[in-house]
């Protein structure tokens, strides 16, 4: 029954319609649209739900019949070139469709409550729908041009959403940074697309892969050029999936509202890069050099993200670096050729991370009325603690997400991550050890986040001691910094207004500061926010079984690789599905994970395992012996690996300098010629004016003088 495939256009079209309708109405009838805001929200949720039902239907069809369906129509035609746009449905697409629509619907329901006090509520839904539409269009794309089109569109939506609170200067900077960084990726993507068009003469995946394959087999292609183009193509995923050299935008992107962080910067858009590499897997596979680069970029990103996440004080930024690290895992998996593991981790991570982000949003939402609306405060884990008591559902769901992300069985990410670690061990021991160490670090920072946020006591209500509390943990180095922060905190308390959103209740904010000792406790968020959290725990718990190997121990016989089978045939060769082997490998990685959790528990846990003095002794000796090491790690982590600083010096300042010097050149040299010419003409005219004084004697003098000179010239000319 291919009937349903003909209506696949509905999936991206419905959210698109929602966003256009909301956008147009908001522009022309702002007041009435804002007064009907609930209706618009329900409208967009409804349309996206229809899209979701369609996607489930398509997935079901795909599981049953496994037909690759393609529908194209002409977009630009010319006598020579014919560009087409259309749809391509295969298992990969259908899985992504379901992923995007489910997370999208849940995030929309969530934001209805999260954004309810915001002035830009309706605008938010317009952006959200637009983003979902372009993301769905991206996964449905059958050719490179369409991929590029939607790739840019999701980038623009991300720009709009990061800069959603445009009055915040930090958000303004972050959105520009995100867009420009992504544009660098697009630069590579565009060049790569053009390069492959040059090589193969087609934009359609199927034809392109086939022709390229033939060319490689017949050695008719310049391999250096092909590698170069493939690397340029890979620049796109590097930027979009926040891989190593271009990861800098992702943490800053956390300036956007939290539901956006969950949807775009954790579950869907950043996964687009992974999706793209997966889509082009048949192509990359032919170029072993590129595959090596991909795997190393992935490994470096995974490790770097994990190390930087170690000491983040900002709840969302910590999660952002964790996202970056997990994306690195996926890229690593794709690079070493285990396609199925990479995609599996994409799915499991998307649900777990969406859960974590929505949980963090719930925390921020309830804490911000107590701590202050500035993101430096309401997202600062130093002010949190013990929140599980006040918001148990959020706490428990967050814990489940943490378990999953750390890779503790039977939660979702365990299965996928373990598969990646096993495969990378098989591929090379260096990559294997990197991924294993990263798993330990993941466990450490995730539990650090969990302990700091949900366990212990609420630190904001403790007196000023509270603000110095984290200092003892994070080493001496930061003592001064924290103190200065504290002073600033007191001094600037009325400046907060700048950073709060317009409609947020200022009196509440100020009353808190006027009476800082008045104790307030965070409340559990309302049902609309808890519902998505609870729903997301289901996939976090169970989706892992999709890719879990069957106990029979057949090779490559988990459900997921069966679905993906037509996409990529050699997946089965790589996947080792032996249950016993799997278990042995799992023990290996689990031990690392648990040691990570253990260290986190010692340092940040709610109660100490050892007697008080002993712990102090340990801490003391640790600080004494490893102080320089810790401070190095801490600094490295706190300053984001110094990468942003150097980028700022080299690229931002460099471009500015270049622009200014060129501008100087333009103004003084090129325009200088023009103006100089004008001035010269002016002076010439002026001087010639004086020659015509009207005195006969002067004219006669000129006449005779000229004649003498002429004679001389004639004379000497005749001589030589």
């Amino acid at each position: 029954m291919e009937f349903i495939y003909q209506f696949v256009w509905i999936v991206p079209f419905f959210p698109f319609i929602a966003s256009i309708l909301i956008g147009v109405n908001l522009l022309f009838f702002p007041k009435s649209t804002k007064s009907l805001r609930e209706i618009w929200a329900i409208f967009s949720i409804l349309l996206l739900s229809i899209a979701m039902i369609f996607s489930f239907n398509i997935l079901w069809q795909q599981i049953n019949d496994n037909i690759i369906y393609r529908y194209l129509w002409s977009w630009i035609f010319d006598n020579k070139i014919d560009f087409k746009i259309g749809f391509l449905i295969d298992p990969l697409t259908s899985i992504m469709l379901v992923l995007i629509t489910t997370v999208g619907v849940l995030v929309m329901i969530y934001s209805d409550s999260y954004m309810s006090y915001d002035q830009g509520y309706v605008r938010f839904f317009a952006y959200l729908s637009l983003f979902t539409a372009s993301m769905l269009g991206l996964v449905l794309s059958p050719n490179l041009i369409q991929i590029y089109i939607f790739w840019e569109l999701v980038g623009m939506c991300s720009y709009l959403l990061i800069g959603f609170w445009f009055t915040r200067p930090s958000a303004a900077n972050a959105c520009q940074k995100a867009f420009v960084t992504n544009r660098i990726g697009d630069f590579g993507l565009l060049l790569g697309i053009l390069g492959f068009y040059w090589i193969t003469g087609s934009f359609e995946f199927e034809i392109l892969f086939k022709r390229f394959n033939d060319l490689v087999i017949n050695h008719e292609v310049n391999l250096y050029f092909a590698n170069f183009c493939a690397l340029l193509l890979f620049l796109g995923p590097i930027a979009k999936s926040a891989q190593f050299p271009l990861h800098i935008w992702l943490p800053d992107a956390m300036e956007g509202p939290t539901p956006i962080s969950a949807l775009i910067h954790a579950a869907t858009m950043v996964a687009a890069g992974i999706f793209l590499v997966a889509r082009w897997f048949p192509l990359f596979q032919l170029l072993p050099f590129v595959m090596t680069i991909i795997s190393w970029v992935g490994a470096i990103t995974a490790f770097l993200g994990a190390t930087i996440a170690l000491a983040q004080t900002d709840l969302k930024k910590g999660l952002a670096y964790s996202t970056m690290s997990q994306l690195g895992y996926m890229m690593l998996a794709l690079g070493i050729g285990s396609y199925q593991a990479g995609l599996f981790h994409l799915i499991t991570h998307a649900y777990s991370k969406a859960l974590l982000f929505l949980g963090s949003g719930s925390v921020i939402h309830s804490v911000e009325s107590i701590v202050g609306y500035s993101p430096n405060k309401c997202q600062n884990m130093a002010f949190m603690g013990g929140l599980r008591k006040y918001m148990p559902i959020t706490g428990i769901t967050f814990l489940l997400g943490t378990f999953s992300l750390c890779g503790i069985p039977p939660f979702a990410c365990f299965w996928s991550k373990d598969e990646i670690i096993t495969d990378s061990w098989l591929y090379s021991s260096t990559l294997g050890s990197i991924s294993l160490v990263t798993a330990g670090l993941t466990a450490f920072y995730m539990f650090r986040i969990y302990f700091l946020t949900f366990e212990g006591d609420l630190r904001v209500n403790l007196n000023k001691v509270a603000f110095t509390y984290p200092v003892s943990i994070w080493g001496e180095l930061n003592l001064n910094k924290k103190n200065s922060n504290k002073n600033k905190f007191v001094l600037n308390k009325y400046d907060i207004f700048f950073e709060t959103d317009q409609n947020e209740n200022q009196t509440d904010n100020l009353s808190f500061f006027s009476d800082i000792k008045k104790l307030k406790y965070p409340k559990e968020s309302d049902n609309k926010m808890l519902f998505p959290l609870l729903v997301l725990t289901l996939p976090t718990l169970f989706i892992g079984f999709l890719g879990a190997p069957f106990p029979e121990g057949q090779i490559g016989s988990d459900l997921l690789s069966q679905w993906l089978y037509p996409v990529f045939k050699s997946a089965e060769e790589i996947t080792s599905g032996n249950w016993l082997e799997f278990g042995l490998n799992a023990i290996n990685s689990l031990s690392v994970v648990f040691s990570g959790i253990f260290i986190a528990f010692i340092l940040y846990g709610p109660f100490s395992l050892f007697p008080q003095n002993l712990e102090k002794n340990i801490e003391f000796s640790l600080e004494k012996n490893l102080n320089s090491f810790f401070s190095f790690i801490y600094n490295w982590s706190y300053f984001r690996g110094y990468i942003d600083v150097y980028y700022n010096i080299v690229f931002v300042k460099g471009t500015r300098l270049l622009a200014q010097s060129l501008s100087f050149f333009d103004e003084w040299i090129i325009d200088g010629f023009v103006n100089g010419f004008g001035i010269l003409t002016f002076f010439e005219g002026e001087s010639i004016k004086y020659l015509e004084g009207g005195r006969i004697s002067f004219y006669l003098f000129g006449l005779i003088f000229g004649m003498i000179i002429l004679l001389f010239i004639g004379f000497f000319g005749a001589m030589f």
Partner: protein
């Protein structure tokens, strides 16, 4: 009816209608405004009507030809005709001029002259794109300068005299070369002057002469388009002009250069063009990056947009130089697309200036709260300008990219180099446009704007109407480029067929 001189009517209607304006009673501006708007609209409708019913799109030859003897002695004919190349630009002219008239609503100083000049300019521009005689082409080219000069030096900003002098010297200096080239071409090979485009295209010249002619014409168009390093008049002129004039300048005037380059240099001098094409491509690529970087360092809003125009014109050059179907299609589309986007951006800069009373980016900031509609529109058009897919700029730039890649003319390394430089341009474009947006709208500043917060600062219905009118074709072309590409597709193949030999 098919023998009716449609084109003559179209060309002469605005200027004759404009001649009536001085006889209007001196009772306020409203009458003159509505009259001018009505004439513009009528003209635009007439253009669309004629093109709809009397123009065959798949025919590459000149249609709707008219030929009247004007000055017998010189063989100077009133020769008009249109083909796929000019039709797009004539439609653009009609569209932008109508909107510019609407945009000039707040002009209260000497409105009779102002609106007369607008109408005269309308005629000049349409006449230029419709002329089929090289001397008539020159005549229209010069005719165009007078209204622009007056519009600039009467309604301009503070440094308007400097800007106008620069403009007139630059462009008049450039057009001398057209006249010389036209006469040389006309006199060559016969005792009789032949000035008809069609006859001229059948002539063949010795290569040296062709190169000299080519360079001469090229200088004139290089000033108009503008091409680096003859571009410095543009930021001054655009910085000083009233925004309705800016719309015309950016929307149409710059396209005259590109049109001339295709119409005369490519069509009439194909041998020289194939020699100079690599240089044009190289200059285009440099221009994209150079102007984009300079734009980034401009503090003045209008100058920043002016440099962005220069940068975008680089794509036109590359498309023209690529000598492929796709590339040339892209170049023409880029002219139309930039005509729409550039006009919109200048209009937006103008209406923002009306509200903030400053053009310096560092003095603005945090204005998004007071004028959300302008913010939305400015963001949308900036996105269009940085070639967001779904908007016309993307299609044009993509076609140009593809044109250079599929071109057989160039070597492998040259193509790689040009494509990479060009692509650096697409990184720089968002840098200057988005930082412009950030400086203008984002953030929060206690400034003089706060005092206006009670009064309604946002765009009014007239301004919104203009912007919405502009965004429709931009999105329309972006979503379905065939709708306009089919206008000149056959003409482009016809032009390029000369190069296959």
């Amino acid at each position: 009816m098919s023998n009716f001189p449609w084109l003559t009517t179209i060309v002469l209607l605005p200027v004759f209608a404009g001649c009536v304006i001085p006889f209007f009673p001196n009772k306020g501006n409203n009458l003159i405004r509505w009259y001018t708007l009505g004439v513009c609209l009528l003209e635009f409708l007439l253009i669309t009507y004629v093109f709809c019913y009397y123009f065959k799109f798949d025919d590459p030859i000149i249609q709707l030809k008219e030929d009247y003897n004007w000055i017998d002695f010189l063989d100077f004919h009133w020769r008009l005709g249109i083909d796929g190349l000019s039709i797009g630009l004539i439609l653009l002219t009609g569209f932008i001029t109508t909107l510019a008239t609407l945009a000039a609503w707040p002009v209260t100083r000497n409105p009779r002259l102002f609106y007369f000049l607008m109408l005269a300019m309308y005629s000049g521009q349409v006449g230029l794109f419709a002329s089929q005689d090289i001397l008539l082409f020159f005549f229209m080219w010069e005719l165009e300068l007078i209204p622009v000069y007056l519009l600039l030096c009467i309604w301009g900003g503070k440094r308007r005299l400097y800007a106008t002098t620069k403009f007139i010297l630059y462009t008049a200096g450039g057009s001398i070369f057209i006249l010389m080239g036209a006469l040389t071409m006309g006199f060559y090979g016969s005792n009789q002057l032949t000035l008809d485009f069609q006859n001229l295209s059948n002539k063949s010249y010795p290569l040296e002469l062709e190169i000299i002619l080519y360079l001469g014409f090229f200088i004139a168009y290089a000033v108009k388009l503008p091409i680096f390093p003859l571009h410095t008049w543009l930021p001054d002129t655009h910085g000083e002009a009233h925004y309705s004039t800016c719309m015309l300048l950016a929307g149409i005037l710059l396209k005259m250069g590109g049109y001339g380059l295709i119409r005369i240099n490519m069509e009439l001098l194909p041998h020289a063009h194939s020699i100079f094409a690599p240089w044009i491509v190289a200059v285009g690529a440099i221009q994209i990056v150079y102007a984009a970087l300079i734009s980034f360092s401009q503090r003045n809003l209008k100058r920043r947009i002016a440099y962005s125009s220069i940068s975008h014109m680089g794509f036109v050059l590359i498309g023209i130089g690529s000598m492929t179907d796709v590339g040339l299609n892209g170049a023409i589309l880029q002219m139309v697309s930039h005509g729409l986007i550039g006009a919109a951006l200048f209009f937006l800069a103008g209406i923002t200036y009306d509200r903030t009373r400053t053009l310096f980016l560092d003095q603005m900031g945090g204005t998004a709260i007071y004028m959300p509609k302008i913010f939305t529109m400015f963001s949308s058009f900036s996105m269009a300008s940085l070639a967001l897919p779904g908007m016309s700029g993307f299609v044009a730039e993509f076609l140009v990219f593809l044109g250079i890649v599929v071109s057989n003319k160039y070597s492998f390394n040259f193509k790689i180099l040009v494509t990479i430089i060009e692509a650096i341009g697409i990184i720089l474009t968002p840098i200057y446009l988005l930082s412009m947006l950030r400086q203008m709208f984002y953030g929060y500043k206690f400034s003089k704007f706060t005092t206006f917060s009670n009064s309604n600062m946002d765009a009014g219905p007239r301004e919104i109407f203009i912007l919405v009118c502009l965004i429709f074709p931009i999105v329309g072309i972006g979503l379905y480029p065939n709708s306009v590409l089919s206008l000149w597709n056959s003409k482009v193949s016809f032009i390029l067929s000369k190069f296959i030999v």
